[in-house]
Amino acid sequence: MKMIKTDKLVFEYAKRDEEGNVIGKSRAIDEVSLDIEPGQFIAILGHNGSGKSTLAKHMNALLVPSDGTMWVDGMDTKEDEHLWDVRQSAGMVFQNPDNQIIGTVVEEDVGFGPENLGVPTEEIWQRVEDSLKAVGMIEYRHHSPNKLSGGQKQRVAIAGVMAMRPKCIVLDEPTAMLDPNGRKEVLRSVMELRKREHITVILITHYMEEVVDADHVFVMDHGHVVMQGTPREIFSQVDTLKHYRLDVPQVTILADELRKRGLDIPAGVLKKEELVEILCRLN
């Protein structure tokens, strides 16, 4: 079974004029069909307003399709009876670290999800401990979230989702409001989780450096999936990426520039070590 599958998914919202009258409809997502296999690390790229966050909210049934269908772990998100199962299967981490922490103490926040699911008390404690350990935040369990850094808050939020034992974790621009340190710290946690728990990871971002390790990348623009493939396939099209307002890493641009100047460098160089190695061989 696919972890996530969409078939001609459409999400429409009403456009309003100054007085609030509906003057038409706009499509935030326009007939998107995609398949995500269990255990994969998927990245969805796109600039602000490309529809990527709207798509993410469908995976958690926070939004339901206006047309078309989305299945999460085989369940149609439009059917009310599956609502809570869908949300438990696909946990979601949001952009703003402050606005998704409910508890006033780290461990209580991580326990919030399992409490809602009606998990017995003893098991909640076990899950909270496991999840906090998994993101490396166990020593902060008694702290107030207000005193943590942005990156630490996001790791708590990830632990809060993990404690619900989801099959898939959807991260909606988890690093957009963090500084470079926080960004690294959050990504490292996600990668470790993925290795250890074999969980499906769907990372939505506009930072291209974050997706070099993904199994599959989707690029969205104006509600459509406009590019998809492995990171290498995607990164080899520097000009197209720039056209979609994405930030190509400096290494990739430098490799591309050198290739244009006649050097024998393959397209889609992802990491600086890789480029250094190629150049040394040329030398």
Partner: protein, 274 residues
């Protein structure tokens, strides 16, 4: 100034007081507060002092944190003391200058009133400093549970309270930031009459409300995403179960209340007539 309010601010420490059931702390604090208003002699206050400072010592909360809670009520305190001091008749006249007249009764009422208010704030600060807002609301929820039968949404109210408590520090910080940003744009908050000052608050309040609503919206979504669906079928990570220490705490408090009541009211030891 708003940052000084210690009520609602938790001080993490590993103490016996911290570990008590929140219900114990709520009920005992209430009993303590009531006891303060029953005394008629200084002995009662001696007992109240011993009890309060004993609890503070046990709680491992630095004394200055508890004292800081008093800052916002300084003005209220001064007014109360002033009223009592100058307007209570009776007893020997101690000072009489022009229309100012301080009587013996006035002095003793003023002093006791001040002590009562100070202990009242210190007592409730101690409770909030040693209890996380969440367990405080948990305790309230459980204590008020009988009201559920009267269709009072106890769970919802306590959830709202704990969220409010979580966001108070965030919103305070935000207020500070917006204020600075508007001052940087030349806003003047200090001068002018009351109306002008109220008007000067608009550039702060509007962005603050906008932000509060945005946060509320985000938070609601985050809660739904984590399967929150009200109180039904919810389990608790930290269910409230009385332990033996909780019973002991109740016992000590009741002993204190009885002793304080008897001593404070009926033992004829009076420094001042009351």
């Amino acid at each position: 100034m708003i940052r000084d309010i210690t009520i609602g601010q938790y001080y993490p420490a590993d103490s016996r007081i911290h570990k008590l059931d929140p219900r114990v702390k709520i009920v005992c604090t209430l009993l303590y507060l009531i006891s303060l208003f029953t005394f008629k002699s200084i002995l009662g206050y001696v007992l109240a002092t011993v009890f309060l400072f004993g609890c503070i010592k046990l709680s491992k909360v630095p004394f200055k944190f508890i004292v800081r809670g008093l800052k916002p009520i300084v003005i209220l305190l001064l007014i109360t003391v002033g009223f009592n001091l100058f307007l209570t008749p009776g007893g020997e006249t101690l000072v009489h200058v022009g229309f100012i007249k301080i009587t013996e009764y006035g002095l003793s009422t003023a002093v006791y009133m001040a002590i009562r208010l100070i202990y009242l704030i210190m007592g409730s600060s101690l409770m909030t400093l040693t209890t996380t807002p969440n367990s405080l609301t948990d305790g309230l929820e459980k204590l008020l549970n009988p009201l559920n039968k009267l269709h009072v949404p106890v769970h919802e109210i306590s959830m709202m309270m704990s969220i409010a408590l979580r966001f108070i520090p965030i919103l305070l910080e935000e207020t500070d930031k917006i204020m600075k940003a508007q001052i940087a744009r030349g806003a003047d908050m200090e001068s002018g009459n009351l109306i002008q000052k109220a008007k000067a608050m608009i550039p702060i309040l509007v962005p603050l409300f906008v932000s509060a609503f945005r946060r509320a919206n985000d938070l609601a979504m985050a809660m739904e995403a984590r399967c929150y669906r009200g109180g039904d079928g919810r389990t608790k990570m930290k269910p409230l179960i009385y332990k033996s220490t909780d019973h002991v705490a109740y016992l000590i408090t009741i002993l204190y209340v009885v002793a304080a009541f008897v001593v404070g009211r009926y033992v004829p030891f009076k420094l001042w007539i009351f």
